[in-house]
Amino acid sequence: MTEPLLSIRDLVTEFDTPDGVVSAVNGVSYDVFPGETVGVVGESGSGKSVTVMTVLGLISQPPGRIAGGEILLEGRDLLRSSAKEMRKVRGDEIAMIFQDPMTSLNPVLTIGDQLSEALLVHNGMSDSEARKRVIELLELVGVPNAEQRYDQYPHEYSGGMRQRAMIAMAIANQPKVLIADEPTTALDVTIQAQVLEVLESAKRETDAGTILITHDLGLIAEMADRVVVMYGGKVVEMGTVEEIFHAPRHPYTLGLLSSLPRLDVDLERLEPIVGSPPSLINLPPGCAFHPRCSLARGRERCRREVPDLVGVGDGHVSACHYTDEMAEEIRRVERETGAAFGAGGVA
């Protein structure tokens, strides 16, 4: 197996708040291999974004605190890198596409100025070289009249165009790792499809390992190779996109899948996950998901013991005490909702 490009190991990120310590990320580990897309899903507040912000060194400390773990970029620990080294990593080796293109572009600078920033900062390009490269990039992401558009301001761009510009900005230096934090959430559906295409071609262009953060399972199914499911600051399940969608081995993943309408699976009704996401200040003891879990059924072990991530197949891991009961649970959900998860339960 090839070496991972980016390896997050047992990462713990906490925030000090007046109400107590918020453990936003609580022992998260996952790898990104060259050229693959890792989809990270989970409810709001599950620690998806904080994890990648920590990777980029963008957590402001205080109130944030990185309490443990390692982030290895090709073997180098980013958490032990100096601020100066991190600045070289950001925008050059790891680049990020932000969620809201309306607010992630500086209103008083032209698009061209902003896109050439990473080029000027990292490559020491001259202004005219940077201009040429930025116009190439704008053409690559499908901005028409790139030459003129270079000198325009963000308010003269539509939402979709701005997100294209953001993607162009992120791939300017051919990053090794591309992080897309809900890249389509702020866009309407037709534009979403276009932007995804651009994202795909940008990925092909750079062959970057990509982390795609979203709560849109459709997006994951379309783009991701592997999926990381996060809950309450922890990874609860990780596997290939087929495994996650057809044979989930964690009740939370199953809950996510059966609470969403899908085009490929015929559902008679949707089954929501009961309750709301846990408070990160005061996580439930034992398995953080147990108060909402359909599998726990009040069992003592779920309330007492924090489940470890255990292998349930080649590279497929799940953090549940009763993964072996998942086949039965999937059949129950299939019976009740009329869903067919394709694999006919867990093989």
């Binding site: 980029l56 963008l58 205080p62 600045r87 070289k88 990593v89 950001r90 925008g91 050059d92 680049a95 990020m96 932000f98 969620q99 809201d100 607010t103 992630s104 572009l105 500086n106 209103p107 008083v108 600078l109 032209t110 902003q114 920033e117 990473a118 900062v121 990292h122 028409p144 009249n145 003129q148 000198d151 325009q152 301001y153 003269e156 953001m166 900005m169 992120a170 300017a172």
Partner: protein, 327 residues
Amino acid sequence: MTDDVRQRDEARAAAGQDVPPAGQQVEAPRPDEVDATEGMAVESRSQWQLFRRKFVRHKLAMGSLLFLLLVSFTAFNAEWVAPYEYDEINVVMRSTPPTLEQNHFFGTDQLGRDYFSRVLYGTRTSLIAAGVAGLIAVAVGTAVGAVAGFYRGWIDSLLMRLTDLVLIVPLLAILLVAATFFGRGQPVRVAVIIGLLVWVSLARIVRGVFLSLREKEFVQAARASGATDLRIIFRHMLPNTVGPIVVNLTLTLAAVIILEATLAFLGLGVNPPEPALGLLIEEGRSAMQTQWWLILMPGLTLVAIALAINFVGDGLRDALDPTQRES
């Protein structure tokens, strides 16, 4: 053809409009024939152009700006514009009320010195003082506010306690002491001292803007593309702060002019017979009943300048506020 279509056509015909012949479809361009790039070449209109347009349409602000330009131009060319030297004594024309005769537009004082010339030279002193003090206030205020707002933490607390300190000391008392020791007969030095005391409001405003800007996504994005702190401050945050700074600067300038006049009124700043607006007002005060023009002319000039600066500030604020509609 349905009834309502016929009715519509009849109505149009009555209104003298062209009616497509009945039954003939108006041909719509097929989608693939429409040039896809049409309408995409947007005429670029930058923030700056928008701002200029709005400002030029703000009549009061534009008028005030022109007035200020005129006043500054004449004051700084007083040697050529003024009909007399500021200390030229003409005993024959003592205490003359404003008259066109011999160009004594503002009259003369008890020594027969031309008051228009004296006000003109005095205005120059005031404007220089305002400029120097304003420059210092902007430089210090922006620097302190930016550093405090950007870095937060202990440095923010330190700088803000410092501004609080400057804010709570009685301005006039400090100014009097400082001007007596360092600024006797030196209007520029007095201006420097004023500048070093009035930057506080600007520092607070800049700090506030920076505190909100640093949480903006575009600042995060700049950081994520590897920009240094200095680059973020100067390229991303300061340009977004220009509006509040400029608006506050105009208000500060108006206040500084009044403050400088106050000090001159109290006898600090220039050495008589060199004129300053405040000094002229003080001289006129003693003869308010009999020679009204001696206090009115410099007083009006002072008020007009301070008002005009405030109006320009208003106009700038409106023009820089993108949510403000053009009126």
